[in-house]
Symmetry: C2
Subunit: 267 residues, 2 copies
Amino acid sequence: MYGVKVMLIGAAIMSHGNPVLKPEDEETRKLAEALKEIGREFSKAEAYVIISPHNVRMSEAIGVIMVENLISWLGFDGVHLPGEYKTEKELAKEIYQRAKVKGLPVVDINFASLGGEYSRFPLTWGELIPLHFLEKRPIVLLTPARKVSRDTLVKFGEVIGEVLEEYDKKVTFVASADHAHAHGNGPYGHAPEAKEYDELIMRIIKENRLEKLLEISDELINKALPDSYWQLLVLYGVLKRAPMKLKLSAYVCPTYFGMGAALFVRK
Amino acid sequence: MYGVKVMLIGAAIMSHGNPVLKPEDEETRKLAEALKEIGREFSKAEAYVIISPHNVRMSEAIGVIMVENLISWLGFDGVHLPGEYKTEKELAKEIYQRAKVKGLPVVDINFASLGGEYSRFPLTWGELIPLHFLEKRPIVLLTPARKVSRDTLVKFGEVIGEVLEEYDKKVTFVASADHAHAHGNGPYGHAPEAKEYDELIMRIIKENRLEKLLEISDELINKALPDSYWQLLVLYGVLKRAPMKLKLSAYVCPTYFGMGAALFVRK
């Protein structure tokens, strides 16, 4: 990277399930430690771009949140983390505009007022739990869509990678993601595909070969019930534009859904 | 209307500024009375469809909120009305799908989870103040867009009108709207176009000739700074499909922005 200013300094997959907040077993403690390590590494960044499956959910449109303020609103199962964050609005605009120019199905989401204190949007556990492990920085919040093509999500990631590389501040990219939800003993029942999906995803991450995500069948995804696949495709697009090496990974399934972490840093 | 079951029984324009909650002069009291009269008339309905300029704001996409629960979140200037509402989700889906089939730039907005208690979205003064004057019913919440064509907004209204006429419950349509904001003594300064816009709008409403909205120039709108024009175009589309007569109207400008009410009922 001689002479090239690296502005996108890292990327991560961060779980958003409650168990990492109060780990009750050794493996969950290790996952929480991995999330903390991501926080230490990302403290070098001046802003974060986070894509979350538990904020706005549009079936055929990718969202770029354009508000000035992000405010804690919704926890899961009674666990409610507080938090207020400023957005990196110029960066959000740049991602939105670049994606639009490329013909991607992206929408800009503001709320209440176009600017000032009333321009705000609610956060859920999907953002608050990853952010809990990160030092406070301005954020760009993005949302995936499940009914756009895989190729569209990868291309959106490429746009993000390009924009972040050209930005004038150091930034990192975070995919908020829990894996399969059909591990049993939960509201989504038991399917053997849950274990299969999670093992495959963790192997793809450890081998740092995210292109293999494209080989996973819709059937496996539909039976495993993950909250990760679509954000991982976006992460794959980011890494296509900004190649990185895997620094750490962790995985555990203490309840009915798989949780993982992965930290990628520049080569 | 012999033999035709009328399901869309009325439509209204309802202001969302704080002054109607505690009227301090006679004209504002009359406006609050008009809003209450709308509430009495609409108590015959089983659901409301409301379009608000102070919820999601997307520049080029019309929003159909698909969550199950709408929850009070944001008041204006310290005035915060509580409230939780169920949505009329089947009706929301029907409006979204019909608009999509017609090629309109519409997106479906869910939040956090696709169903259940976590499927919820925040409400602001833009919805809470009109709803304060209405008996509690399930709601469909829609959001306008300012950078789509006027024709697109009218067509979206026509889709709403068609869908509501075919629905199996009695429903009404509410355009949440305040008029020009540049009347002076406020954050948006003074422009003579504010008075001009408001007078023109109230004349169009009183004459029940909403087609004349299309003759208003962008320049007048840009100088008057209304929060009403785009929702009124949608209302015009609704009325094209379901002709109504004006039952009452009111207008007052006690601070820096114009507030009005209008009630339309079937002929």
